[in-house]
């Protein structure tokens, strides 16, 4: 347990969810890449095996004491398992170089068996890393698997620009691809299930900045809801994050049945509170680049304070987070400032006088 806390993340999260007293509200900076730097490795090293992958998360947790460890199945996970080729940059996140599907009429040639752990070395690595993390810190901190929604999974199989065009020109085949992706994701979730983890569905391509609300309702919502229902049926929790401005789709996002809603910094937390705060715990949303990467202690304090002032009284609860992944190049001290501000304003019982 971190020296500045009185509860472990696990105790805190259990109490918070049950509406009982906590020492402070949960704090969840997105630590997908920057944790590697805390562990003194680059991103290629982090990806090189289960030990380094686990160690980077654990190093981040030991330094910050934030409220969740991550097993990052990644935005391209489904595509890679099926045969999309990616690069392996030393200091960057992986990008797809060649997509496994070049023609929507060939969807039937894709093989869902390939996403199973026994057939996918990448999932095997993530699973082994998750086991290490849980062995080292599972007593005190929960583990969440970050995977994609069906739409972003489709964009790891078939190029995004073509997929977006097909929404208008070939909707039937897009539905077939999304049907396939939803089944693949259900398979992947089952592979993790015996570890007792939670899930966070990230769907950046389904962003309200990219597509219109009707597209979200037709192509994203039904498959995501099915995935969430499936996870709940398995006894697992599901958080939800979509990048960019989701103000116009925020109600249907909550209708999917997810257990918590994480908001990009493009969304006003006040507006999120008004629209869905009485239905779901909202999570957010300090600007990852403008504040976490380019700011200093005072900017971070101010941004965290603003989140509390807008959202801390949200009826179904509020957790502090960044609006998206903290940039790999952000100063590490800024994470300490973020945690310190979160502990200051989020100390229980919450007191408006501190942040208003």
């Amino acid at each position: 347990m971190h020296k500045d806390d009185q509860m472990t993340p696990k105790q805190r999260m259990a109490a918070f969810t049950a509406g009982r007293e906590v020492d402070r509200i949960p704090i969840m900076p997105f630590m997908g890449t920057i944790s590697a730097r805390i562990a003194g490795m680059n991103l290629r090293e982090m990806r090189s095996g289960p030990k380094t992958e686990a160690e980077s998360q654990l190093a981040g947790y030991r330094r910050l004491g934030h409220d969740c460890l991550i097993s990052d199945y990644g935005l391209h996970g489904i595509g890679i398992a099926l045969g999309s080729r990616v690069n392996n940059p030393e200091h960057g996140v992986i990008a797809i170089q060649e997509y496994v599907l070049d023609d929507l009429n060939k969807i039937d040639e894709l093989d869902r068996e390939k996403v199973k752990r026994k057939n996918d070395p990448k999932l095997t690595r993530h699973y082994a890393a998750a086991e290490i993390m849980l062995k080292e810190a599972g007593e005190e901190c929960g583990l969440n698997v970050n995977l994609t929604g069906p739409f972003t999974a489709a964009a790891s199989i078939y190029p995004t620009d073509k997929l977006l065009r097909a929404l208008v020109k070939d909707p039937e085949n897009v539905h077939r691809l999304l049907r396939f992706c939803t089944d693949c994701l259900k398979t992947v979730c089952r592979e993790y299930l015996d570890l007792g983890v939670g899930f966070t569905i990230c769907d950046p391509i389904a962003s309200g900045t990219m597509m219109k609300r009707q597209n979200y309702l037709d192509f994203v919502y039904p498959y995501t809801k099915e995935l969430v229902d499936d996870l709940h049926g398995l006894g697992a929790s599901a958080g939800y994050h979509i990048c960019g401005n989701t103000s116009k789709i925020i109600e249907p996002m909550v209708d999917t049945g997810v257990d918590m809603l994480s908001l990009d910094n493009a969304v006003d937390m006040e507006l999120a509170k008004q629209k869905v705060g009485d239905r779901i715990c909202i999570v957010g949303n300090v600007d990852p680049t403008g504040v976490m990467m380019l700011g200093e202690a005072s900017n971070i304090d101010e941004a965290v304070k603003s989140c509390f002032s807008k959202a801390a009284d949200s009826p179904c609860g509020f957790m502090l987070a960044t609006g998206c992944d903290v940039p790999y190049d952000a100063p590490l001290e800024n994470l300490d400032h973020f945690m310190a501000a979160g502990r200051k304003y989020g100390q229980w019982p919450l007191d408006e006088a501190r942040y208003h």
């Binding site: 960057g92 620009d161 208008v168 597509m211 680049t289 403008g290 380019l294 940039p327």
Partner: protein, 223 residues
């Protein structure tokens, strides 16, 4: 010239309504009717793209629609361009690319399209563009504007390096630098010494235009 007007309107409509076939047909008819291809582009296709841009700003069109409008626009351009005798009256020339390490180029392609629509000649370096490639292109071409984009925070720093390298090569004063992309902000642009930040594809050409006009326009536009 009522017949010309009908063809020009059809060119515009084909782009706005995302109809590639109509764009090709109308472009062919424009050539048969001996409409100046530059007029067909400026008062036909580009008008349609501008109207699509308005729909985008009004949040009726999003990225899928803009991509399909751009397909129609390029289908028409492919037919009209070979008939243009000499390019003149251009706003200037801009080089554009997605910085090294990043392959996300949908936004870059839309910026390129709106820049073209607005009258800029574009040199498109593509995606995952090496830093030195930007520098070389500025050195070897009559370029007034450098446009760089990235979607990822891990590759933002490359933009700063390009600007530093332009300075080292004595090329920085020759060009205006505009940057954009999801993680980019005005503050970041100021911090790395770019001339401007553009938040949308439709805003970029106006920003470029303003910067180039303020500095006296393209140096050799009479050539």
């Amino acid at each position: 010239m009522g017949g010309d007007k009908i063809i020009l309107d059809e060119l515009a409509k084909s782009v706005l309504e995302m109809d590639e076939d109509l764009a090709q047909e109308a472009a062919q008819r424009a050539i048969e009717a001996k409409i100046d291809p530059k007029t067909a582009i400026a008062d036909g296709l580009s008008k349609g793209m501008e109207a699509a841009g308005v729909k985008y700003e009004e949040e009726e069109y999003f990225v899928p629609e803009l991509l399909l409008c751009s397909d129609a626009m390029y289908a028409g351009l492919d037919i009209l361009r070979p008939h243009i005798r000499k390019d003149s009256n251009k706003k200037g020339c801009a080089v554009i690319g997605v910085v090294e390490g990043d392959t996300h180029d949908i936004g870059k392609n839309l910026v390129k399209l709106f820049m073209e629509t607005h009258g800029f000649d574009m040199i498109d370096l593509g995606r995952d563009v090496l830093i030195e490639k930007f520098v070389e292109t500025v050195k070897n071409n009559d370029v007034q504007v450098v446009c760089m984009s990235t979607l990822m925070t891990t590759t933002m720093a490359g933009m700063k390096t390009v600007i530093e390298r332009l300075k080292e090569e004595g090329l920085r004063d020759k060009v205006k630098v505009i940057i954009g992309g999801a993680p980019i902000s005005r503050a970041f642009a100021a911090k790395i010494g770019a001339d401007a930040y553009s938040s949308t594809a439709t805003e970029a050409p106006l920003t470029a235009d303003g910067l180039v006009s303020a500095s006296g326009g393209p140096a050799t536009s009479a050539a």
